[in-house]
């Protein structure tokens, strides 16, 4: 059974590219452009084992942190990784670094590092 991966990013090109890369690796991807899209299909989202969340999802929009809280509230048991282009000094990013059981990765990440996230989920 393929590993389910959530890709939450408001940038369509990056979102599609991440989906393509993980699909090539044999994953079943669930792509969402916003918090609303993610939470609209809870069954698909909660079935995944890895969630890659962008932190900033557009001006004044709910953030990746809100998505993280929603996933945890709904009992999501997979790994959660924040992938952000913003500096750690930004408030939301700083807040994300304080969360337990999540990883914070800075864009641009190497392909190898992105695929290793998947390998760690296969092992678990």
């Amino acid at each position: 059974m393929p590993i389910g991966v959530i890709v939450l990013d408001d940038d369509p090109d990056l979102r599609d590219s991440l989906v393509d890369v993980y699909s090539l690796a044999g994953c079943a991807c669930f792509a969402a452009a916003s918090y609303a899209e993610l939470t609209a299909l809870p069954q698909e989202a909660l079935a995944a084992r890895l969630a890659i969340l962008d932190i900033n999802l557009g001006a004044e929009a709910p953030s990746g942190l809100d998505a993280f809280r929603w996933l945890r509230e709904k009992g999501f048991g997979g790994a959660i990784v924040f992938l952000t282009g913003h500096a750690r000094s930004e408030r939301l990013v700083d807040e994300a670094t304080r969360l337990n059981s999540v990883r914070l990765l800075q864009k641009p990440m190497s392909i190898q590092a992105l695929l290793e996230l998947l390998e760690s989920r296969v092992k678990t």
């Binding site: 990056l14 590219s17 393509d20 900033n56 001006a59 709910p62 282009g85 000094s89 392909i111």
Partner: protein, 276 residues
């Protein structure tokens, strides 16, 4: 010279002219009853004209008063007030009775220390005019008049002068420290602003860079030699962009966290600040 210094000089000269105007009018209400002394009334008129003239010039140049002009006007006001005090002391001496001379000079020296413009020569010059004229006047008074004066003059006036100089030095140092603090804060604000601009630019570049690296990887997976060659070029260019990214990263330490719990838009943030 800066706006802060110019406005301080304007305030100092205007305060001095207003204080001198009030003091001179109050003195005149008492001194006009003194025995007729040549020059007292004339010095009163000259002083009033100088004060009002200084105020008029300062008002006319209030938008951008040159610091030097304000300091010169300040000294003109001091000189006019000192002249009037000189003739006032002449009037007190003419009563042929015990009197306390140089009262105006003492008070004026302290007032100058408190309101003088930032220029050293204006503050020291003003104190020197009042204390110096008192000392010269003391020397010029006949021995009979000196015998009628309060004890310890001109020592008392000299002590007032020294105290005024000390007060002026402390005040000018405090002003200099304050201006330095204002300058440092302005520089810090500018650095913070620049750091945030660099960060916003870098943040905006990170997502497309990530996309390009993924697309280059996807091109390699197509098993096409030409595409693989193109992917190599793209990856080399990405490497150069990463080096630039590292340079911008150095500005990060100076940036302040932005507030708010929702997401933010780096591009909108840059546009609000007029960046292209």
């Amino acid at each position: 010279m800066n706006d802060l210094a110019e406005h301080r000089a304007l305030r100092a000269a205007a305060s001095a002219a207003l204080l001198a105007l009030i003091g001179t009018l109050l003195d005149w209400t008492n001194w006009r009853h003194l025995p007729r002394v040549p020059g007292l009334f004339e010095s009163f008129i000259v002083a009033i004209v100088v004060y009002l003239g200084a105020l008029a010039v300062l008002y006319a140049r209030r938008e951008r008063p040159p610091e030097q002009l304000a300091a010169v006007l300040f000294l003109c006001v001091v000189a006019a007030a000192s002249l009037f005090s000189w003739f006032g002391d002449q009037g007190l001496a003419a009563r042929n009775a015990y009197f306390v001379p140089f009262e105006n000079n003492k008070v004026a020296a302290l007032a100058i220390a408190l309101v003088a413009p930032r220029s050293l020569w204006a503050g020291f010059g003003g104190i020197a005019i009042f204390v110096g004229s008192a000392l010269i006047h003391f020397v010029l008074f006949p021995p009979g008049v000196r015998a009628l004066m309060a004890f310890h003059e001109p020592v008392t006036t000299s002590i007032y002068g020294l105290f005024a100089i000390a007060l002026l030095v402390v005040r000018l140092r405090s002003l200099a420290s304050h201006e330095e603090l204002v300058r440092i804060r302005a520089e810090r604000a500018l650095l913070d602003q620049n750091a945030r601009i660099f960060l916003a630019i870098r943040d905006l570049a990170n997502t497309p860079m990530q996309t390009i690296s993924l697309v280059a990887y996807l091109m390699r997976t197509q098993k096409d030699a030409d595409l693989a060659q193109l992917a190599s070029r793209v990856e080399r260019s990405l490497g150069k962009l990463r080096e630039l990214n590292d340079l911008i990263e150095k500005a990060r330490a100076a940036a302040q966290p932005h507030g708010g719990g929702t997401s933010f838009d780096a591009l909108a943030w840059l546009r609000r600040r007029g960046a292209p």
